[in-house]
Each structure stands twice: as C-alpha cells, then as structure tokens.
C-alpha cells in the first residue's frame, strides 16, 4: 500500500484516500502463505485516514469482516459502529462483525519492510504492518474474553473487509474505507485424491526392459540350439567314434590275445 501511495501525485492523495482506498491483502511475495485456509493477512491502513484526523482527539481503527453475501452496514443510524461479534453474525454470513481494533497506524514513520531480515525487529514489524484475520483460535471458547474476537475464517469462502476510523471518546465513526475486493480463503484438497500414477515410463526403463528381454530370448534360443545340436549331432558321429574306439580296444585286445597266443605258440 505504501509503495502504491508513494507513486501517486500529492494533490490526488486526499481524494484518493477519502474515496477509493480499500483494505489490501498483504503482498504475496512478502507473505507467501496468504490467504490460507482460515486466515487472511491484510495490510494495515497506513496513511489512509490522515485526512480525517484532527489534533487532540484519540482514534481507534476497527476492522469489519463479512462474507460476500451479507449486508454491508457497519454503523447504526447515529453512525455508531456496530458491536457485532463473530457468533452473532454467523461468521460474517449475516452481516459484518468486528474482528479487530487497533491504534491508527503511524503514517509519519511507517515500518521499513527491509527490516524484515532483522530477527530482532521482525516480530514488531509484522505486528505493525500486517493484520492477520482469523488469528485467534481460543477467544471463541474463552468465557472471559473481552473485546473483538478474531477466530479462524471458514475455508473456501469469499470475504470482504473494511476499516473504519472511530473517535474513541465520542464513539462515532469518522471515516471508512470501501469494502475490499472479494478475498477467498483457500480450499483444502483431500490428500487422498492425489493421483499417484507414474504416467509415462522413463526411457531408461524401456531400454533396460527391451534389451534384457531380447538378450534373454537369444540366450534361451542359443541354449536350446546347443542342446539340440548335441543331442542330434552326438547321435551318430560320437557313438561312431566311441564304437570305433571300442572296436580298437577290442581289436587291440584281440591282437594282444593273438600276440600272446602267438608267443605262447
């Protein structure tokens, strides 16, 4: 919001501030988790109400939240701000509820966003700069809770937000922003619906499978061929060799028998 303001010509500022400013969602580069399921981080209204502030009066800013459909009046007939709560409006469904009150942000010395890297200052900085709607889990269940309760929002619902400036002593509204654009809380996807199908096979898998199957095929083929060869081929030549061998032995045996017989003779 500040950078936005800074770029505007000064003479436009009062008009712009009076008429067209609306609550802005915090920069998603600054707060990556925004909006979430149940929270929306808004920028606080820096310099927005400057035109309406008069000296010596203490002011406070209220934040109103409503679901997109509900009616939009935040004051009664005598311009007193409504004191509706989250429960009364059914979480903003029936009308705006007061979600937070805070002091008027200091326009003269706004927080330096570059300080965010400083771990000492970051907590203060975030408090000054951001308003997290839906931040308080316990206030709904705490009977002693006083003030504006800011319980978690409902997921997947569009909300609108409005800041108003209230004169603390008189208790009347002095200025207001427009209702913000619709800001929708996230919708939670069921983790059971994640599709784990791997999709296309990788090239490596295809290469390994096809080549190995082919090799296996050739090996079996080779094995069967060699068995076939041995069984088929060994039938005649090998038995022939063996018989020849045997016959040689028998011949030798016969010869030796003959020889011995001859010598005996």
């Amino acid at each position: 919001m500040q950078t936005h303001l800074g770029s505007q010509p000064t003479f436009w500022e009062p008009l712009a501030l009076m008429c067209s400013l609306r609550p802005q969602i915090a920069n998603t580069r600054f707060a990556t988790n925004n909006p979430t399921l149940t929270t929306v981080a808004l920028e606080k209204p820096f310099c927005v109400f400057d035109g309406s502030l008069s000296q010596g009066v203490s002011y406070v800013v209220y934040l109103y939240v409503k679901a997109d459909a509900g009616n939009s009046s935040v004051t009664d007939n005598s311009s007193k701000p409504l004191d509706t709560t989250f429960q009364e409006t059914n979480g903003g469904q029936l009308g705006p509820y007061k979600a937070a009150t805070f002091g008027v942000p200091n326009c003269a010395s706004p927080p330096k966003l570059s300080d965010v890297t400083d771990t000492q200052k970051v907590s203060d900085l975030l408090n000054q700069y951001l308003l997290r709607v839906g931040d308080d889990r316990s206030c709904l269940y705490d009977p002693n809770f006083q003030g504006a309760c800011n319980p978690p929002l409902v997921q997947n619902t569009a909300y609108r937000f409005k800041y108003i400036l209230v004169d603390k002593a008189a208790g009347v509204m002095k200025d207001q922003t427009l209702w913000s654009d619709q800001i929708k809380t996230n919708k939670m996807k069921q983790s059971s619906t994640i599709d784990t199908w791997p999709g296309r096979r990788s090239g490596g898998m295809i290469v390994v499978t096809s080549i190995l199957s082919t090799l296996m095929f050739f090996l079996l083929l080779g094995f069967l061929a060699s068995i076939f060869c041995v069984v088929n081929g060994s039938g005649e030549p090998e038995t022939a060799m063996e018989t020849r061998h045997e016959s040689q032995i028998t011949q030798q045996g016969v010869l030796s028998v003959q020889g011995s017989a001859e010598t005996a003779n």
Partner: protein, 237 residues
C-alpha cells in the same frame, strides 16, 4: 578364458549392491512404508546373483577345463536361471524408480498420510522426514505449500492458524532456535525453507536405481556373449 575378468566384475557388482542396501541416503522408510521397496529387493537379488555368478564362473571354468560335458550343461542351466533373476532385478528396480520418483505425487501423498500419524509406520516416516528437513533444510515434498494445499494427518493435529507447516520448515539460527515464528507462519521467504525435499529423495532413489539397474545391465550384456561362447564350447566337447 573369460573367467578372471568375469569373476572380478561380479564381485564389484556384489559390492555395489551392498552399497545400495546399506542405504547411505537413508530414504528406505519412504519406500518401505508404501510396501514398495523393490529397489532394495532388486539390490538384494543382485547381491545374490552377483555371488552366484561368481561361484558359477569358477564352476564353469573347472567344467570346461576338465572337458566334463555334464558339468558344462549344469553350468549353462544354472547360469540361465541366475541370468533370469538378474534381469528381473534390473527391470523391477527401474520400474520401481519410475513408480516412486517420476513425479512427486506418490511421495507427497505418503508424506501427508503418514507424517505425524501415531502408528509405527507413521513414526518411522516422521523421523525420516524430520531428519531430511532438518539436515537438508528442505520443507515438504515440492515445497511448504504441500502442507497448506492438502489435508493431512499433520493438519488434524495442528490447526493451520498455529502452524501451517511443521516447525522444522522454519529457518533456524546456528543454535537451532527458530528465527521468527511469526515470519515462518506467514511464510516470509527469509524465515522459511522454500525448497522441497523431492530432489533429494529423487536423487537418492535414482542413484540406487542407477547402481542396481545399469550396472546389472552392463553385467548382463557382458555375460550374454560369455554364455554364448560357453554354449559353443559345449557343442564341441
């Protein structure tokens, strides 16, 4: 003949498989919890087949040198069996890799289902995720938004307002103290680890697969001609 080199290669294959089964990246729970740990099964098979190839190599050499036809036949049959197993190990490892890390969905789903679950599997997986997120300074599978976009066991225990993601996703100082809880909660880039663990896990599974599959593949490519030569020898005995 082929024996010496062959035996050496197979011993190396054995060692490689031992390296895989020892799981230096410690990603076994991811595969184990889903009941799909085929890379490890593949590695065990390849240890076994590597050793068998080695023994059979020795046996085959003896058979061929002594010219015993029955021994060579036995060698060939056993080699074929072992070859089949090694093929299976290669192919299943690779298929399994495709199944687990070809996209982050499976790992994401598993993380969301089991992280913080009070079961034995849940505890094991939680420990593993905690360790990876802590050591590598990663968050989630594809990034911290995994925790936000999907319902999860973690979410049922920790409402989003308090901790949109596990606190191990938050950046920490050298003393391991969270730098800023508020900053981490809104997801400011200086206070949250933006990178997902999927690359790390994918790298681990990939390198295991690489070891088991491609090395097995190389061995099988080498064994194939060896066996063909042995078959030829067999016919000439």
């Amino acid at each position: 003949m082929e024996g010496g080199n062959f035996c050496c290669t197979l011993l190396i294959a054995c060692c490689l498989s031992v390296w895989v089964t020892a799981d230096q990246y410690k990603v076994y729970p991811i595969l184990g919890v889903s009941g799909k740990d085929d890379v490890y099964a593949g590695a065990w098979i390849s240890i076994f087949t590597g050793f068998s190839f080695f023994c059979l190599g020795v046996f085959g050499i003896i058979g061929l040198v002594s010219g015993n036809r029955l021994m060579v036949l036995l060698y060939l049959v056993l080699m074929l069996f072992v070859y089949m197993f090694e093929c299976a190990s290669c192919i299943t490892s690779y298929t399994h890799r495709d199944f687990v890390v070809s996209n982050p969905n499976l790992v994401t789903k598993q993380m969301l289902t089991f992280y913080a679950a009070p079961t034995a599997q849940g505890r094991e997986l939680t420990r593993m995720w905690d360790r990876i997120m802590m050591e590598q300074q990663y968050c989630g599978t594809s990034g911290p938004m995994d925790w936000v976009n999907y319902s999860s066991t973690f979410r049922t225990f920790y409402p989003e307002v308090v901790s949109p993601w596990p606190f191990l996703c938050c950046k920490r100082d050298p003393n391991f103290v969270i730098l800023s809880q508020e900053g981490c909660r809104i997801g400011h880039v200086d206070y949250i680890n933006n990178k997902g663990c999927f690359d790390h896990i994918g790298h681990a599974v990939d390198s295991y697969t690489w070891g088991v599959s491609w090395f097995g593949f190389a061995i099988l490519m080498f064994t194939c001609p060896v066996m063909l030569v042995a078959m030829y020898h067999y016919t000439t005995l």
